[in-house]
């Protein structure tokens, strides 16, 4: 076979990363973000007719420690009910073995994008709300370990 072209390569890289949602109640939407362990997409919950955020484990992590951590992350999220914490709706395993969980889709501006336009007191109020949310998790034995400053 002749080597694949650059365009074909980019297409394959994209579709192989995307979760295979065949048989699931979700229809894939645009990519929202990519982290060290998972990738977050916007998706449509076809059964309920609502937009959600779907986080799926990266393709190389179908087993091992990352898989266990990902499942634990979903379980922790599901039991933390707080206005500052995104609610988890469902968890599952795709046909290719990758874990996923579904969250409420949060709309609005990112804090790091909007903070430069806001006054200092306003930014401090946001910071206090974040601290309260983290404290809520701490008293329940959960440490975030990946929170950063915008």
């Amino acid at each position: 076979m002749s080597p694949i072209t650059g365009e074909t390569l980019r297409h394959l890289q994209r579709v192989l990363e995307e979760p295979d949602l065949e048989g699931e109640r979700y229809r894939l939407g645009p990519l929202l973000g990519r982290g060290g362990m998972g990738i977050v997409y916007q998706a449509t919950d076809v059964a309920l007719g609502r937009e959600v955020a779907l986080k799926v484990l990266r393709p190389e992590f179908t087993e091992g420690a990352a898989d266990v951590r990902f499942r634990r992350e979903a379980q922790i999220l599901a039991r933390l009910e707080h206005p500052g914490i995104v609610a988890a709706h469902a968890v599952g395993t795709l046909r290719d073995g990758r874990r996923f969980y579904v969250m409420k889709l949060v709309r609005g501006a990112r804090l790091d994008d909007s903070s430069q336009r806001r006054s200092l007191p306003d930014r401090l109020r946001s910071f206090l709300r974040i601290c309260e949310t983290i404290e809520f998790a701490h008293v329940r034995g959960v440490i975030h370990r990946d929170s950063g400053s915008p």
């Binding site: 076979m1 002749s2 080597p3 694949i4 072209t5 650059g6 365009e7 074909t8 390569l9 980019r10 297409h11 394959l12 890289q13 994209r14 579709v15 192989l16 990363e17 295979d20 065949e22 990519l31 990519r34 990738i39 990266r58 393709p59 190389e60 992590f61 091992g64 046909r95 290719d96």
Partner: protein, 178 residues
């Protein structure tokens, strides 16, 4: 030949460098040696005819885009070679198991030579191959699943540790990966 290959790989020490870095180092060393040989020929050394298909190789490789480094081009060719090998393995596997139709659907959709601009619809492929559209979806999903596994298996074989494997895997997927 096998001895030569073994000798080549015996120089690789996972504790010292990633496999890709090792390859890059070997390539640089090879290029330097080739340059020295070239200079010797220009000075009147003996002529040796090489049958390597450099023209074909040049054609197959893309020129680095403006602003892209040779390092980036090397990384992209590394990813491309992994995909090429995995696609070949997928073709062989489909043929061996009587699943040629799966590979055919995959070829017609995912390997469409002109990319997204003229990628056929699932319906067009279904009509061309005389199968229901749902089967096109199923065959494509299966082929991608299998290709993903073959790719990761090949990568794992080439990496010296789990950490290196995970590091390299990041470059394999995603639209901004390569």
């Amino acid at each position: 030949m096998e001895d030569w290959v073994q000798e080549f790989f015996s120089e690789y020490d996972p504790a010292q460098a990633r496999f890709r870095t090792f390859l890059r180092f070997c390539l640089d060393r090879f290029a330097a040696k080739a340059h020295r040989v070239d200079l010797r020929f220009k000075r009147g050394g003996g002529a040796v005819h090489l049958s390597l298909d450099f023209a074909g190789a040049e054609q197959a490789l893309e020129e680095p885009a403006p602003g892209q480094s040779e390092e980036h081009a090397f990384d992209r060719e590394w990813v491309r070679s992994l995909f090429d090998g995995a696609i070949d393995a997928l073709a062989l596997e489909c043929r061996a198991n009587g699943h040629e139709i799966r590979y055919e659907v995959f070829t017609q959709y995912d390997l469409a030579p002109d990319g997204d601009a003229v990628r056929p619809t699932y319906r067009a492929i279904a009509e061309r191959l005389g199968i229901p559209v749902t089967q096109v979806t199923n065959h494509l999903a299966w082929s991608r699943r299998r290709l993903r596994v073959l790719l990761l298996e090949r990568l794992r074989d080439l990496c010296g540790s789990e950490a290196e494997f995970q590091d390299e895997a990041v470059a394999l997927f995603g639209t901004d990966a390569a």
